[in-house]
Amino acid sequence: MTVLALIGAAFAVVAVWILNHLLNLELQSWLLQVPRLILKRLRHQVSPEFYDECYQKYWQPDLEAILLDESRGVLTRFAQGFRHAFNLWWTRGGKRSAETSVAESLRALEGFGDLRVLSKAKRKEFGKVVDDLVTALQWCNRNLDPGTAVQLLHCVASVCDAFIDDRNERAAEYLALAAAPLMAQLPTDEPAVLAMRLVCARAQLQLGRTEHAGASLEALLQDNRRVFGSTHQETVKTRRLLAWAKVGEGRYAEAEVEFRDLLADLPLRSSPIRGHLECQLSWAISGQPGRLFQAIESYDRVIAFRTRELGQLHPDTLDTRHSKGKMLVLHQEGDMARRILQPLLADRIRVCGSQHPDTLETRKYLAIAIALDRNRFSPARLRALHRIRRVQRAQQALHGSDHPHTRDTVTRIAELESAGWRQFAR
């Protein structure tokens, strides 16, 4: 009886063990099916062609390798497989991120205008939107719809332009670098690609790489003429930058001719580009010997034009006032420059903030103007020098040491510290 009971008990234990084992196997099998099912559900969220290509070639083989890796426990395999499949499902194989990120980025960017006048909170918000834009660019793959790609590239070009206006050329360059693979996917004569080439050249120009920018602009001008024609706004913008590159090379007379030609070709009196052209024309005039007063008159006309068209405190109007003040400093007209730059600095601080690159430049040239007419060791001149050094530190932190603004400040400090103002160079 006892023996029979023992045999019965042994059978029961074995049966339970077998049942348990089978149940475990069944459970394991069910468990590992979950990631496979999730990945199959993805079929309904993406296009059949995209799914068929990626599922068979990439997603499924990788998932199977995870799930069938016997060196790991079942739960680990399940967790890793689940994460793999779920993330693909959630992001629609990466497509969701591309398309929705693009759409969201474009929507989010609508609320921003001129970066120079943004409040600190708005700037922070803009930074986040740009981060999302960079993410959208990272998501982009060859499956991105060409229309969306074009839209995205136009948007990147606008943001780059806004960054350059804000004297943040490096951010523009970084964004352009992130967009380079997207540009490579589109035809070379696509307007969005041409717009990106223009902002890249503009950033180069602003960073003082005049020769490189000039060569890029020459090539771009040919393409713009071929695609848009000679009078199109994009062609005019390219010609304007090309003329400005000539100013950077010291070819003021040639640049003046080009600016005058462009102004003569402008169809509308109040075209937005007119202010830029007249401002740059004034600078080109001021670079030529004996034409300071003509340049002053020219600047006064631009200031009046921009005040009327844009308002007295518009950043472009402030820029023109700054350029006039800076020109006077470079012509050693300290008193006249001070009368322009002193109120301008207050306006700059009010509109752009105390640490904005434009404000720093105005502060620097005001300090130089103050130092101009002083005795070498006068307290006012020494205080001005101290202020310029502070500007240099701020510019170093903001732009780095190789930025034209920082380099210019270093040069000005050296000139101030050396013999005198006769050596003060343009």
Binding site: D62, W90, G94, G127, N141, N168, Y174, Q355
Partner: protein, 100 residues
């Protein structure tokens, strides 16, 4: 992820290994790999197994091609230089604290 590739440019990587090394998710890694392939930096090849024996399909493995190695190094160097020389870089596209 490019840095992971550059640690040993001759080595091939499976997507799953790249996810671990770069701490990116699957929904991120495949689009990036597709972009790198589209740019001609990365090439992929089938895993060297017998699917019938292993009971699973062949995975793809990825490696940097010689042009990709060169371009990736230049791009990384430029990015590092940019990080060094400017306060406005990848994660720092937000304004400085003392801006208005």
């Amino acid at each position: 992820m490019v840095e992971v590739f550059l640690e040993d440019p001759g080595r091939t990587h499976f997507a799953y290994d790249l996810m671990h090394a770069s701490r990116l998710q699957s929904g991120t890694i495949y689009p990036i790999l597709a972009r790198l392939q589209a740019c001609g930096w990365v090439v992929d090849e089938a895993e060297d197994i017998e699917p019938e024996v292993e009971g699973r399909p062949r995975r793809r493995r990825y490696r940097l091609c010689p042009t990709g190695v060169e371009q990736a190094r230049i791009a990384l160097a430029a990015m590092r230089e940019q990080r060094r020389s400017s306060s406005w870089t990848i994660g720092l596209l937000r304004p400085q604290g003392d801006l208005r």
